[in-house]
């Protein structure tokens, strides 16, 4: 009889998760209780993490093409959702999910043009400074 775990979000919503899915999280694995509160992660995000765990618990073969496609779609979210997911997955120590999410962020950074990076920095000379720095390193 497999245990059922209860994950509680920061906005007090509870998700019931089967053992196989729950144990994908190292944090849950090493927890003494079957009721775990995940601080600072809202239901919307926690729900998605649970969805990922359920999907990955039910299919044995992670190299399966269908799972890969599902994963690719799963990480194709807006970046603020992406970062919240990383934070949650990191807290719950779900390595494969963290890896997939960080790979996605890395890909997004690689695909970005310099302009977008520059926009967040409070000086207008940054583009020139960055180009000079890159040039001095030989890029």
């Amino acid at each position: 009889m497999s245990r059922v775990f209860k994950l509680k979000s920061s906005d007090n919503e509870t998700f019931e998760v089967e053992e196989a899915a729950a144990l994908l999280s190292e944090t849950i694995k090493s927890s003494s209780s079957t009721e775990i509160t995940v601080p600072n992660v809202k239901a919307e995000i926690l729900g998605k993490v649970v969805e990922w765990c359920n999907k990955h618990a039910e299919s044995e073969d992670t190299k399966d093409q269908l799972i890969k496609e599902w994963d690719a779609e799963f990480v194709s979210v807006d970046q603020h959702v992406l970062f919240k997911l990383i934070t949650a997955a990191d807290y719950l120590q779900i390595k494969e999910l963290v890896d997939q999410l960080t790979q996605r962020v890395g890909d997004m950074i690689k695909a970005k043009t310099l302009k977008t990076v520059e926009m967040t920095y409070p000086t207008f000379n940054v583009e020139r400074e960055v180009q000079e720095e890159l040039k001095s390193l030989g890029f």
């Binding site: 600072n40 970046q79 603020h80 990191d90 890909d107 990076v117 409070p122 960055v130 720095e133 890029f139």
Partner: protein
Amino acid sequence: MLTQTHEGRTRTRTRHHTVKQSSKKTMRNDEEDGRGGITCGAVTVELDLQDLPEGCIANVISLTTPPDACRLSSVSRSFRSAAESDAVWSRFLPPEIPTILSHSGPHAPSCRSKSKEFYLALCDNPVLIDDGKMSFSLDKWSGKKCYMVSARDLVIVWADTPNYWKWISLPESRFEEVAELVGVCWLEIRGKIDTRLLSPSTVYKAYLVFKSTAAAYGFEYQPAEVSVGLVGGAEPTKKTVFLDADRGRTQSYQIMPRRGPLRNRISVQVSQPREINDNQYPKERADGWLEIELGEFFCEGGVDGELEMTCLETRGGQWKGGLIVQAIEVRPKRKS
């Protein structure tokens, strides 16, 4: 339009997810989705990236490229420490580095220095390996392995005959000796490299690295035939290139020499104008040498084999000389 929403804010990097103000997201005149985020591009990547748990940021950066990491480092102080970290730069290095360097001479950069410095040192300062017959370095943009096979390690037909080729030392060469072409009518240069040395899943290009002396002759009209392919594999595609840096470029049509008994005696017969492909002419390298592309090869990895790179001019029969061959270089194709 840039709004200075960052000024005066202190950021504390904690593992807890901080509540985001929706005003923080109004950095650009782009659409906002209903949840307070921006749907276009990744304008706020850097803002949110800082909120990620420690270690995650370094993970993310290590999944980008060396130029991206340098860019992130110089763009934002918040990323500098992660983007400069050994966690990131050690991952840009090929795993075989310690083995490769253990077979090199005494002047290899130290493994003990900070990973980024070590990485850049390996890019900028090629290391002599294989008893000084080859050199190894990293491609700065990708961290993939680059090699030069020196002239002494190439098969150059007639290279042992001083009437045809001379072995000399030049200070501007990284190898002890380079091969100076006195004069031949049969030019055949072949180089080989074990594909296990190359980085997997990489498109490589091979180049003949040489110099043209003031006395160079015989290359103005006759192109050379070059190819790159696996030994024992399918017949490689051959292409024609000109080893003459100046004359070939200015011709918009090929002048066909008629072979006479004396070298340099030609009668001219103008053929059809042809389109000039830039890759058919030598390019100047940063180290002052010239290079001409011999071909391209996709290294899958995990398959044993030998890559053969050739440069031939054996059809024209005319005498040619005045080139200095340093090596054949094999390096990753740069994505533009």
